[in-house]
Symmetry: C2
Subunit: 434 residues, 2 copies
């Protein structure tokens, strides 16, 4: 007997059905907004990640040398891959490019609740628009996906921030400050203690007084954005604030403003963000980690050798999203569903097969015996797969020109002329004949 | 600019949409027959493949040592994984177990037409039934998938064979014959020349006379099955022949007998098959390779440390299946489809967003401007995504209480009161108002 690899999961049908339903709901929200599915490889050149994040990133990846001597890595995220794909066809692709895909990614990380070494995400991105409407559309798709799952504004909150406000404020301080390091410190703020946080900012070049100022600025609410402009006194912070306000305004038209809260302490860990960033949190705080996040990354495509192409996107992961859905009581029930079981008694295969085939042609999930089982064993099996209706096709019934329909919930059954079943009803059940 | 890895593919939206449609069609055929989706890991312990097929198999896989010192491999096929999953829960799972999944697999192979290093398959298997009906159901799901794709009996042919007929015939020869090697030779027969084929059988222990006899037996048609029993004179061949006939009989009830042809020269390459095997071929012969195949493998679960559990399944791969669909002219058109483009003229974002939202709530694919574009640029974009209907929301029209519907095929347009759009129609277009 073999074990599966640590951090990798098997999904049996009941759980998979719920996951598929949740993934379909998220994908449907994106599809209806005009995002188009793409298909992407599981392996990329390791260089692509090392160039972007340094050689040390390879320690966190499933990176290896293939039989042809290529240094490759299992994709830890989709963004570099889509950037590569955009660059490869930048002339032909009509803008905006709106792409989405659902697939697994892999990282060699510590396994913990809601974090696995193989994890699934739906990536949803817009390339080619720098307009606030594009950022707002990303927030709208995210909110639509969550409300379609049955979540409400009581369940989740998008904490919205802006990288260039953070960067602009840091740049307005005197001294030699490592902006990226300071932003990474902000991203870690909620997860580490105050001393550790202060140490990180000190390492990034801030004085104690600056740390206090910066921290106070991060607490700014929606009414206080003008004070940030005033404090920094730079065009950079002014236009970043205006951009953030324009995005929030655009979410009003799209009906999703209620889900967004300004939160400058939200920074996102990845270096490539340039504008609005956001993270989705559990409003009750029961799940303390960010559920997922996204934001604007206008420089990445150019960094991949392409023409300057603004971009904004997000990527819900299903490990944390399932925790949120479970906490809120909207995770789909993990049980099989079956429309019909066609039960054979005696040698009635031909009629049973005809009926099963006609029901399947109408799109129903239909099982029939493939194991040569008795009446009782077939009925038990029909029950185990939660068949709604059992169509009993028996030799004696057939001699009288009938089949029997059994409603599995009530146990009621009724004889129906075999010639009129399934008949004209799209979904004939006991009730149609009772 | 980075290159993708050899043998790996990027799928852009147009091609992906066609692939998704084909995959959905195959999955739907399986779902309607009661096959349940499972989710499986991309990495497994390399030992699982080496134990089954010998250390040399690892040369054909993406096998490597992970950061934790585990010998792992990217899964080259699903069968060992599902066997592991069946064994892990063999007590709880109610039989028959009917599973399916669509996902990529990876092999370090020579890249050629219809063969890539990353390739997609839908695996469809039944565990726990040794009945001929189960084999026939597998053939029925395969045929349903293909006919649902628009293929007919003129397009494809299931060449049906039986491992135990081949094995039983070989066992009936005098001498020390390596049955597995001889069956592998049969599998290669069509791909190699006659001398090479004879050499392989000689290596497997057959004399020249036996090779001639064996070859003549392989040409047996459906009428000649009794002669095989007579030739071998063993219970083994007799019951194998009876089993094959029972499977073919069962396909009659399921309405798929017409797609099946007896072909003992079909052997399937993998050692683990034990009973009926089949391969799907292009009837026109234009595509010479097997499109996909499957069969019965009753001993595998026990080989994985489980209780004896009969099994039968198949796995269409999309590289070859797409070649067949293209040859037959049924590959779905590779173009985007969009139900509505909601075009904004002036600051009409709120009304445009309301209309777009209501159309999306009805399930439609709806795009609207996220780039601050002019009327003409928006119309060009709507055309580029093949929008069927454009809803023009203009400031002046709105002042008159109207929006304009434009049919993109005819170019016709009509003013519609904004209060009655989208109105009660599920899918309102120009024609509903003209």
């Amino acid at each position: 007997m073999y074990d599966r690899i640590k951090g990798f999961r098997d999904f049996y049908p009941e759980e998979m059905q719920s996951r598929r339903q949740v993934m379909d709901t998220v994908e449907s929200a994106a599809r209806r907004h005009g995002f188009r599915e793409i298909g992407t490889p599981a392996l990329e050149s390791a260089e692509m990640y090392a160039d972007k994040s340094g050689e040390e990133i390879l320690e966190e990846l499933y990176a290896f040398e293939d039989k042809g001597g290529r240094q490759v890595a299992l994709t830890p995220e989709l963004t570099p891959t889509v950037a590569r794909m955009v660059v490869a066809r930048q002339q032909e692709l009509s803008k905006p490019i709106k792409w989405m895909s659902t697939r697994p990614f892999w990282r060699y990380e510590q396994v913990q609740q809601g974090r696995f070494r193989e994890f699934y995400q739906t990536n949803i991105d817009i390339f080619g628009s720098s307009e606030p409407t594009a950022d707002a559309e990303i927030l709208a798709v995210a909110a639509t996906a969550l409300t379609d799952l049955g979540l409400t504004g009581e369940d989740f909150d998008f904490r919205v921030s802006h990288r260039d406000i953070l960067g602009g404020l840091l740049a307005s301080f005197e001294g030699d400050i490592d902006t990226e390091a300071a932003i990474r410190a902000v991203d870690k703020r909620a997860k580490i203690d105050a001393d550790e946080y202060a140490d990180l900012l000190t390492d990034a070049g801030l004085t104690t007084a600056q740390i206090d100022d910066f921290d106070a600025l991060l607490e700014t609410g929606e009414d206080g954005l003008d004070e940030l402009i005033e404090f920094a006194g730079t065009d950079r912070v002014e236009s970043a604030v205006e951009n953030l306000q324009a995005v929030l305004d655009a979410t009003v038209d799209l009906g999703v403003r209620e889900y967004c809260t300004l939160s400058l302490t939200t920074a996102r860990g990845l270096d490539y963000y340039t504008g609005v960033v956001f993270e989705c949190f559990d409003s009750t705080g029961e799940i303390s980690r960010s559920v997922f996040g996204g934001g604007r990354y206008d420089d990445l495509i150019e960094g991949f050798g392409g023409q300057p192409t603004p971009a904004v996107g997000f990527a819900p992961g299903y490990a944390t999203l399932s925790l949120l859905c479970q906490r809120a009581g909207v995770w789909p029930e993990e049980s099989l569903s079956t429309d019909y079981y066609v039960l054979q008694v005696g040698d009635t295969r031909d009629v049973a097969a005809r009926i099963a085939g006609q029901l399947r042609d109408r799109g129903h999930v239909v099982e029939s015996d493939v194991s040569g089982r008795s009446f009782g064993a077939q009925l038990d099996y029909a029950d185990s797969i939660n068949a709604e209706t059992v169509v009993i096709v028996g030799e004696q019934d057939l001699a009288d020109g009938n089949v029997t329909l059994k409603d599995m919930e009530s146990g009621d059954q009724i004889a129906v002329p075999v010639d009129s079943f399934p008949g004209g009803d799209d979904r004939p059940t006991y009730d149609d004949f009772a």
